[in-house]
């Protein structure tokens, strides 16, 4: 049942680092995170890794396994050959803090820039009425466990540090879509998605969707519909004019 697995784990900090070789026992049913934990307990007590739920629910244990962005707790050892060397590295898009732990503060900064849910003014708590079909679209996006694997994968920022200020990333463009599709939200974030949050950078390659452990259709269900809304708005002079007038009227 058990066998000796060969692992290369990136160790270091934001100054320098390198892959380090380990041989560690692997047992039936185990995931990569189990092996990392075994390394901590037996060979490398100060090996840094984030985790919480060990069941794919909290989005803490994001890293790259053989170069592919994944949750360490949901990556079964059985998907690899027993003689294969498994390489575990931190997410590449974010600065390393130590070993497998990266500085994901970019994401929290972006989260704060998206205008929040805005309920109708006169609607009292307890009086909210929404149909299941209408909430389902936003519910899909609210499955997001904020593992930031999509943010890590998107080529707009993966090797382009310079784009980070202007681009919210798939997770937070999807947050805009979620609020825009909320049946009771009264704010309008469509223009801002383009002008402030970098929707235009996205060229719908779907790499974000491919790595999402929650199977959310980020590109098809959030990003493309948002792009369509923006396009309608921007190229339709009537809508555009109407918007302007409406805005002015509000002030």
């Amino acid at each position: 049942m058990g066998y000796d697995a060969k692992l290369k784990v990136w160790r270091g900090d934001n100054g320098s680092g390198a892959l380090q070789d380990f041989t560690v026992e692997a047992n039936e049913g185990e995931v990569v995170l189990d092996l990392i934990h075994r390394l901590q307990a037996t060979q490398a007590p100060d090996l840094a890794v984030r985790w919480n739920c060990k069941a794919g629910k909290c989005g803490s244990c994001s890293a790259e396994v053989n170069g592919r962005p994944r949750l360490l707790c949901m990556t079964r050892m059985s998907v690899f050959d027993e003689d294969e060397t498994i390489t575990v590295t931190p997410m590449r898009t974010f600065p390393v803090i130590r070993d497998l732990v990266t500085d994901v503060s970019y994401n929290y900064t972006k989260a704060r820039e998206i205008p929040s849910f805005t309920p109708p003014k006169d609607l009292e708590p307890g009086d909210y009425r929404m149909q299941q079909v209408d909430v389902e679209r936003s519910q899909e996006f609210r499955k997001c466990i904020e593992c930031f694997l999509c943010q890590n994968t998107c080529h707009v920022v993966r090797d382009h540090e310079e784009n980070k200020t202007a681009f919210a990333g798939p997770r937070f463009l999807m947050r805009i879509a979620e609020l825009e599709m909320h049946p009771l939200d009264v704010a309008d974030r469509s223009d801002e998605a383009q002008t402030e949050h970098g929707l235009g950078f996205c060229n719908i390659t779907k790499c974000c969707t491919d790595v999402c452990p929650e199977g959310i259709h980020i590109t098809d269900n959030a990003l493309i519909p948002m792009k369509e809304r923006v396009a309608d708005r921007r190229y339709d002079p009537i809508v555009w004019l109407g918007n302007k007038l409406f805005r002015r009227g509000e002030n």
């Binding site: 007590p45 732990v101 929040s116 929404m130």
Partner: protein, 638 residues
Amino acid sequence: MTEVERHSYDVVVIGAGGAGLRAVIEARQRGLSVAVVCKSLFGKAHTVMAEGGCAASMGNANSNDNWQVHFRDTMRGGKFLNNWRMAELHAREAPDRVWELESYGALFDRTKDGRISQRNFGGHTYPRLAHVGDRTGLELIRTMQQKIVSLQQEDYKQYGDYEARVKVFAECTITELLKDGGRIAGAFGYWRESGRFVLFETPAVVVATGGIGKSFKVTSNSWEYTGDGHALALRAGASLINMEFVQFHPTGMVWPPSVKGILVTEGVRGDGGVLKNSQGERFMFRYIPDVFKGQYADSEDEADRWYDDADNNRRTPDLLPRDEVARAINAEVKEGRGSPHGGVFLDIASRLPTEEIKRRLPSMYHQFKELADVDITKEPMEVGPTCHYVMGGIEVDPDTASSSVPGLFAAGECSGGMHGSNRLGGNSLSDLLVFGRRAGLGAASYVESLAERPVVADADITAAAKLAVAPFDPPADGVDAENPYTLHTELQQSMNDLVGIIRKADEIAKALDKLGEIRKRIRGVTVEGHRQYNPGWHLALDLRNMLVVSECVAQAALRRTESRGGHTRDDHPQMDSQWRNTLLVCTSPGGDPLAPDVAVDAKPQDPMRQDLLELFELSELEKYYTEDELADHPERTA
């Protein structure tokens, strides 16, 4: 002097789970400056893992539901040991707290008429749990996280700084509460990332640190659940109650070994799943205890009809309170009718169509598929008990959430009393909202009432720092060096084996001996490396808390010579009315600051207010109360 980063706030909330976040929102809305400190990243607290739902008697699914029914269910679930005032406030306020979340942006599953849908759960008379599929905790935490962001955006507009009044200190661990005279003056901790020390000067601390499950080997809890808040409060002079009551959830995964203990939501049974033994028998019908006789279906036919017609049939015993189901599974396995990997079967595959299972229980489907190669739409799951929740915790005033230490408040799983000897599923998320808010209010009122701010003494900061870095020093002469991982494993093993789901006096005594031994060895714990993101060091510090909390559990368990809720004594199998009104209170008389001593004393609980007592029929109360206690009941005096 030790180098420390200093911050000053009106209120410091330790914990960013449901209880902590709700407290932050309330204190900030009262206009105070608030820091929230948590060990993980923001949004990753344990609450995120909650699956089934949040109990609130909104009456959307069955209009007969109301707070009184919820109150009665909660008291029954806790076998009448609950703090009745907490149970009352909880039942009365839960609906408002859930509705409020919608105004923050939460999207619960809906009924046909567009209201919040509610699902069945163990011990709840009516469908009562607001939910989002089986990821309700995620919805709760994300909603409150986003509400906090919206408050920060308001502050940004006003002050040009998002963090003007609410700041999140993520991946920061509090190791000590500091006092000035008898009052709270601050909290001391370290940044996990850099290992550097940080001091919060504050007159009010809300402890919302969650549970203690990591003291047990098989658990649904994450690494964060090391009982920090319990231990911090105890060391600061507060008392803990009900520590002998630990909830073993009946359905954890049992296979493969690496996922043993991970939770299978009660929602599976709420939505129609049934428990079976290796002979295919739905064994729960044989385990309806006397106190619940008459309230549960006694045939499979009736049980199956109940899902569609709850008004004319009684519910299935698969949905008895958790302590009952966990003991039943334990007994089936012991008597040789278990599943291949030492659990029993939980079958939803033969009860619901494939699509319906995937729609209602998507993360369970995913979890079994990915982690166990089991397709729950085709085959039964294998499940067994797992340490899940601690009913015991910091003793608080129900209305203000204040502990006995001025300035120290507690809410959520780390507080005690609300759930008595056993918590009903879904009653935790609602507890977080109700008492998180009350703790925020309580702390705000306390701060506003102060004439002057307490001051942190430099000597206390130095002492706290010294205690925190001790594991980097070689052990004192004559003490052997110890690996924190090894000690942790030994502690978990003995708590699991000797103070677990079924307990006996001699085994608990053995566990206490073992804890005594660990108490000696813990002084030798040494760690390698430096202070920057060092999990070995973090564990070395958490281990101290686990040790103290485990002693509370074991000592109280030895004292209580009866079986009730989450405390089952093989040598005292009966529930004893003489014990119903007795609270076991843990305090610390002092001792080594590394792992202070624990003392347990008994004290009576306040008798239930008459109007609440009268919500129950005498015949039911007679199962729990002594004759003397019921002398004034109207059915008696009439």
